[in-house]
């Protein structure tokens, strides 16, 4: 059986810690890739899922990966977590196809609510019709 995967890309394990309980409860495969290329590989091999991406200082590489991800895996859902509101960045993120941009405050309840709702689409079946990835 293929479990829905929840990928968390960040530098400090804070968000993964917040989502660990939820992932355990719902039988999601929580993965914490350390490299951006690994994110693409996991979507390639593990099927669709949700990526929670916490923007760090390496903005250009992270957003370039996001663009590539949305191009190659249009079904992959991404929640972008930003530490402060930058209009240009937020707008760019929406254009790159993220499902939601989470701005502060990053409370556990808010994060869990969004992730839980978005993960629902991957629960019953891993593809729309059984053909493909």
């Amino acid at each position: 059986m293929q479990y829905p995967q929840l990928l968390v890309y960040e530098t400090d394990r804070r968000l993964a810690g917040l989502l660990q309980r939820l992932a355990d409860k719902n039988n999601w495969l929580l993965r914490e890739p350390r490299q951006l290329s690994a994110v693409l590989r996991l979507f390639d091999r593990g099927g669709p899922g949700l990526l929670v991406l916490h923007l760090s200082r390496d903005l250009e590489r992270e957003l370039a990966m996001l663009e590539q991800l949305s191009w190659l895996h249009p079904d992959a859902a991404v929640v972008l977590v930003a530490d402060n509101e930058q209009r240009g960045l937020t707008s760019l993120a929406w254009d790159l196809g993220v499902r939601f941009v989470l701005l502060p405050p990053h409370t556990r309840e808010r994060l869990e609510e969004i992730v839980l709702h978005l993960m629902k689409q991957y629960q019953p079946a891993m593809s729309t019709n059984g053909v493909g990835t």
Partner: protein, 501 residues
Amino acid sequence: MNEEDAKGAPGQQGPDAPRFPRRLAKDFRWQAFFERCAEPVFVLDRRRRLLFVNRAWEMLTGMAKDEAHVLVCRRPRPVSADDPIEEILAHALTPPSEVLRGASGHVRRLLPAPKSVVGASRWWEIEFLPLLQEGEQGGYLIVGRIRPVPAVELIRDHPLSEKLVNLRQRRIERFGMDAWASSLPAMRRLGEQIRLASQVTTPVLIVGEVGSGKQTLARTIHYLSPRRDGACAVLDCQHLPPTVISHLLFGLDRREAGPTGREGLAAVYLREPAFLPRDVQLLLCERIMGGRDARAPEGATGPRIFAGSVMPPAQAVRSGRLLDELACALSALVLEVPPLRERLADLPSLVERLLPRACFGRDTRVTNLRADAWALLRAYSWPGNLRELYNVLRSACAHASGEQICAADLPAELCRAVQREQMAPRTTDKTLPLEQLLEEAERRLIQLALQRARGHKAQKAQAARLLGIPRARLWRRMLALGIADPEQEAGGPAGEDAREE
């Protein structure tokens, strides 16, 4: 001659106007016509070489007329700041594919060489107008007009780095009209609707099956529209909490205050708005109605609303999910995306377009499909539409060993589905024997009536009463249809009762 004169001039030719390109090629009076035009204008010949540039073009680019004549504008690949100025200009002036097919079009291009080319302005908006001769396929001349965009609204407050601006531009260029180019009447009509929708600001409702490209269509319209500098957000009404959506759309949040992140939004695509709660639907309806006020100042109208739905709006209203008012507000412009099974003629061009993406990052580069694989793709009904086609190609590229995909590389599920469809008789080929169907229905009704009358002293008489026909007719029909008499089988009118006793 200013721009207004230039615009008015073709209209002064009266009945000769349709023959304008032919005359233009002969006597070259058009050079003087464009030369004094205030805006940078250029003309490409059929091989996309620069045939003419005006003085404004020279001033904008910093390139002399004589140097410009060597440029061949056939470079769709983006350029970088390291490329020579000729390459950068060749890319900027390359017409999009729909222009080569004879339609007018406009693009926005980012010029990565800032100093020698455009000074402070790095974005160009270029309008292309092909001048066609009768029976001409590729276009005779292409007239282009450049409008430098002084500043990109998106980056005014919080400047993005050049790499990120280029990233956005690359993303925008993925949503061109090429994806919707087709010779099919329904798709050509859709193409015209896309152009129309990009010129207006009304809400657009896009109806189509799952995976047919509704979201791509919404982005295409937005990035063709004058508001393309602002972002386009996609909100999944089915899978996002309603509070989050209302927070983003209206700045409402019942529990927490905080930034909404909606300031830079110029368009919002709502996926399946019927899943929104009724109060949010009402608020959305009010906002759309308020946004239609033409007297409202620019910027006060909020983001333009696109909505995508699998179900036609009338059906969604009947099902009770979508408010009638919201359906009306969204239906100002309804675009229907045909399912893939109705545009199988486009399959080769779609596959050609999707293949480089599907085999991206693979060791082997797949360039085409073998005949057996094509046959399978054409025979399949594609319930998942374009999304499924992409997934199938991606899976096939992973299995392909050479440059071509063969039938064995395609997913087994697809092959089985095609076999099932081919084995089952097609509905169109099946005969419809009315007599047999009526007899079958009659037999079943009589058997049902006899079953209900079971235990009654006069079972057949009771069954005839239930059916509303005379007893003699029931008897005749039972004989004709070969239905056994239950009274005789039971040994008399009250046989069963007697047997039970």
